[in-house]
Symmetry: C2
């Protein structure tokens, strides 16, 4: 693995939900978005088109398994997929389950749209229920990825 000493994603040694030699799948641990998962390519590359076609396919295959398992386990309104890396140019995918009453819906989670307090309250209640289902989601995800 071609590591970059100054890159936080090269350095991070988070407990992965699942990993193999090429990539790792981690809980993003976002306080507002239960189930938010990241798929991080281990080698320090910047863009999808820096990968070989077979690598692109294997990476996206894992992203689809994450999406599929999130949908089955948590039934979100929508899945949001993003590969940005403007702050940390080390290839990683955000897989974010979204709900109609979450803090920013229908805007991007980065929009900081601000929310009315009624919505805030309904989301807090729902989030509590979702949080309790995250361990089940992660167990199902681990199992699904092992069959890849």
């Amino acid at each position: 693995m071609n590591a970059d000493d100054s890159c936080p994603l090269c350095a991070t040694n988070t407990d992965a939900i699942w990993h193999n030699d090429e990539l790792r799948v981690i809980d993003a641990c976002h306080p507002d978005y239960p189930g938010y998962t990241r798929v991080i390519w281990n080698a320090h590359v910047t863009e999808m088109t820096d990968l070989q076609p077979a690598e692109q396919q294997r990476l996206m295959q894992v992203v689809w398994v994450v999406e599929h398992t999130l949908r089955a386990a948590l039934a979100p309104t929508k899945i949001n997929l993003a590969e940005f890396g403007n702050q940390v140019p080390h290839l990683h995918w955000h897989v974010i389950p979204r709900w109609q009453n979450d803090l920013n819906f229908p805007d991007a989670i980065w929009a900081g749209s601000g929310s009315e307090s009624g919505r805030l309250h309904s989301w807090a209640l729902m989030e509590e229920g979702l949080l309790s289902r995250v361990p089940g989601y992660q167990a199902a995800l681990r199992e699904a990825l092992m069959t890849l």
Copy 2:
């Protein structure tokens, strides 16, 4: 194609940069982001995991060609890829070239981070230059997609 009468992406009949029976590639025509391109799946499906594996691959293959051609033609600082669909749940990808002095960098383009006026000015100048290179980018993209 299973169209939904109420869906703006089923209805839209924008001039595509390129299209085939499954998808179309359009200029997002975003006033602040020259080269911003969308890849829209023609059929009204919501998530990537609603597609068959071969369809997923063909769609992503087009996204990678867009990314590759944007990098070659416009040399952005970073490519941003996003599949959200919270507002319009009809599968489409945003492929957004980003530059270090653009209006929201390093935040998401949806962050509305606001910008200092110096940065605004430098970006306006750069954007003008980029805009003149967009037709060349689109011609190269059309050519690359034809060889798929």
